[in-house]
Amino acid sequence: MKYLRLSEKLRRIKRSPWVFHLNSGSCNACDIEVLDTLTPYFDAERLGVKLVVSPRHADIILFTGPITRESLPKVIRALKATPRPRILVAIGSCAVGGGVWWDTYSTLGGFPKLQEVLKQCRIKIDKIVYVPGCPARPEAIIYGLLLALGYIEQKVSKITKFTSQS
């Protein structure tokens, strides 16, 4: 298992992705949308998705919030407790880039900044998918899950270079 490639590991998780909902101090709008994704209307269990209550059981972390300083140690512990391969879906503007809290004193300001802290703690995240929106819609969250599991290909390239026409 240790020497398998990520695509091979993902193939095994693909048929039975278990998700853990990790809130790092969000306004709860994204959390309501995450719960909505798992309710009968959207029924994520069609894809084998199951909500688990312990990070030890999780394959995918549904991450919300701009990471408040108070929640930071708990977030690190939860991510450390998750067995590898760790897949993370950052949901909502706050998780993606901090949102309106990107430079406040009490928050870290989104997942990219948390990643620097995780590198120092030697916690590796194997795959990250960003689902923007304030709040992110349930359809977008399901799309993000499918992207994370490799059901669909990413439509846009990761880095977009803007060039002026003039």
Binding site: M1, K9, R12, I13, R15, S16, W18, P40, D43, E45, R46, L47, G48, K50, V52, V53, S54, R56, H57, D59, A81, P83, R84, P85
Partner: protein
């Protein structure tokens, strides 16, 4: 020929228990106006996919004792299952019934010991709730099973005994509302909270085999209730009735999904006590 029958009867639960669990998930989804795991393989094999995936995940181990007890629990449940199949095919051997009951209670005890050993408060809370529920029903369950299988009693007593066995099989099989600890989401996975990867797979597989054993015991009790004497017919009927009873349990658990988990054990104790008093009364009347 008997050996072949025993091997066949032993192999069926090993493969079919996760399949029945997958079908139960599909039925629950239908009751809750959902689709559930979609497509042919997912509908029947979702629990197998879960177990296979967990076997391939990283193992985060907190103590070596836990892994040993989890493996021992699976072994004990497998032994219980083999003894049950022998008991079904050779019902004239009474000592087999006592051996079955011994192993059934020991495997339950092991699953609770594992939860107590874990250094996690959520696991301990789940284990103590498990202890309370087990103490409530285990004694009545095993004594009712012995009376039902070994003693010739009146039809009213047999019906009451069957009710106690049915309730106990539902409760010991960790169905809603007797599966989760209180109402906090953090402790909802109770005794499984610290397990990960292959250990969690073993624990879940053990639970599914245990549910199969309990459904099979209940189907055997049902056949005893209607006084089926032919051994081979009983064994075949048990195999056919087991998935039906499993699905009925699934439907009941979907209906009970919104019941209060804190009221469940006390209501259970009251119901079982009333039934046991009625059984004692009917047995005493017969003796007099």
């Amino acid at each position: 020929m008997e050996y072949i029958n025993i091997i066949l009867m032993t192999l069926i639960p090993l493969f079919s228990a996760p399949i029945y669990d997958s079908i139960e998930r599909k039925i629950k989804a239908a009751i809750q106006s959902r689709i559930g795991p979609i497509g042919f393989p997912r509908s029947f094999l979702q629990s197998w996919f879960d177990i296979i995936k967990l076997f391939n995940k990283e193992l985060v181990l907190t103590s070596y004792g836990v892994s040993l007890i989890t493996i021992l629990e699976l072994i004990l449940i497998l032994i219980t299952m083999i003894i049950l199949q022998i008991a079904l095919l050779t019902s004239q051997l009474y000592w087999i019934i006592s051996l079955l009951i011994t192993f059934l209670s020991t495997s339950t005890a092991f699953s609770l010991f594992r939860a107590i050993l874990l250094d996690n408060p959520f696991s301990s809370i789940g284990a103590f709730r498990g202890f309370y529920i087990t103490l409530t029903v285990e004694g009545f369950f095993l004594s009712s099973l012995i009376i039902m299988l070994l003693i010739d009693v009146s039809i009213i007593s047999r019906i009451l005994l069957f009710c106690v066995i049915a309730i106990s099989c539902y409760v010991v099989g960790s169905k809603v509302p007797f599966d989760i600890a209180e109402a906090e989401p953090e402790i909802a996975s109770g005794v499984y909270v610290e397990l990960s990867g292959p250990l969690l797979a073993i624990a879940l597989y053990s639970l599914q085999i245990k549910r199969y054993i309990l459904a099979q015991i209940l189907s055997y009790s049902l056949l005893k209730l209607i006084n089926t004497s032919n051994t081979s017919v009983t064994a075949l009927m048990t195999v056919l009735l087991t998935p039906i009873i499993w699905m009925i349990f699934g439907i009941v658990s979907a209906i009970f999904a919104r019941t209060r988990v804190d009221v469940g054990p006390s209501t259970l104790l009251k119901v079982v006590l009333i039934l046991m008093l009625l059984i004692i009364a009917t047995l005493t009347v017969k003796v007099v």
